[in-house]
């Protein structure tokens, strides 16, 4: 299963005015990979599906604030 978030390390200039964010991220949710949805995929039960916004675990991709906690500099 592909990951829903990818990371990269941008160039950090020696004279940047603000403390750098060393690792940046972007979202790559499942619809980018699924293609035509195959028959017979696993389903959530109805009440779970109504809460999550999709019947299909394969399309469920919850989002969290990537700035929280401020992404750690390693």
């Amino acid at each position: 299963m592909p990951t829903n978030r990818k990371y990269y390390r941008p160039y950090i200039g020696p004279c940047d005015p603000c403390p750098p964010i060393r690792v940046k991220s972007y979202e790559t949710p499942p619809q980018l990979y699924l293609g035509f949805q195959p028959y017979g995929l696993k389903q959530f039960d109805p009440s779970t599906a109504l809460r999550k916004g999709t019947l299909w675990p394969a399309l469920y991709a919850p989002y969290t604030n990537p700035y929280e906690p401020r992404e750690e500099e390693e």
């Binding site: 499942p30 619809q31 109504l50 916004g53 399309l59 991709a61 989002y63």
Partner: protein
């Protein structure tokens, strides 16, 4: 025609008094990639799309109005108890001067809604590619809104709306695949 159900598609709860968030949420109300633009775009394009795709545009276009209603509810709840002074402090002074607490179709920066936000090119692949892009843009907007909120209940409703954009994008991508399939070709026996 439509049948109206007097309830929201997903519950909207607001647990923090944060009228400034209303200013940002308005982006999804009357902004370029907002729910109004989405609904109008799909429900208009469906007349000139191949038959197999019409139902999908009707379904998704209709659902977008249910999303519009959720955003409206959030904005209303966040502003209904604010004084003129509090509206001003929340960055909503310009809105208040023109509209009091009324909602209006403009984006977070106050630019009024315009039909130039949407397109209907008549070329089915072109229109579906626009629709996929619109869904991804709405998904991204929800991400930035989630990043700016610290109200778990607002975040919960926005997360639901973001997940629906994922599903819509998936279905539009499948629509493209349907149109790419060779079934419509003239068969010579």
């Amino acid at each position: 025609m439509w049948i109206y159900e007097k309830k929201l598609q997903y519950p909207v709860k607001v647990s923090k008094c944060d009228p400034m968030m209303a200013k940002f949420l308005i982006e999804q109300y009357g902004g370029a990639d907002g729910e109004l633009a989405a609904a109008l775009r799909y429900l208009n394009q469906r007349y000139t799309i191949p038959d197999k795709i019409i139902g999908l545009l009707t379904d998704i276009g209709t659902e977008e109005f249910a999303h519009l209603e959720m955003i409206a509810t959030m904005v209303y709840k966040l502003t209904k108890d604010a004084t003129a002074e509090e509206m001003k402090e929340a960055g909503l002074g310009a809105h208040y001067a023109d509209h009091d607490k009324a909602l209006f179709y403009h984006n977070a920066a106050g630019a009024p809604f315009t039909a130039t936000y949407i397109q209907a090119k008549g070329d089915p692949i072109t229109d579906l590619y626009e629709d996929i892009a619109a869904e991804e843009k709405a998904r991204a907007t929800y991400q930035w809104l989630i990043n700016m909120s610290d109200d778990p209940d607002i975040i919960d409703s926005l997360s639901f709306l973001r997940e629906r954009e994922i599903v819509h994008s998936q279905r539009f991508r499948e629509a493209v695949e349907i149109l790419k399939e060779d079934q419509g070709r003239k068969k010579v026996f």
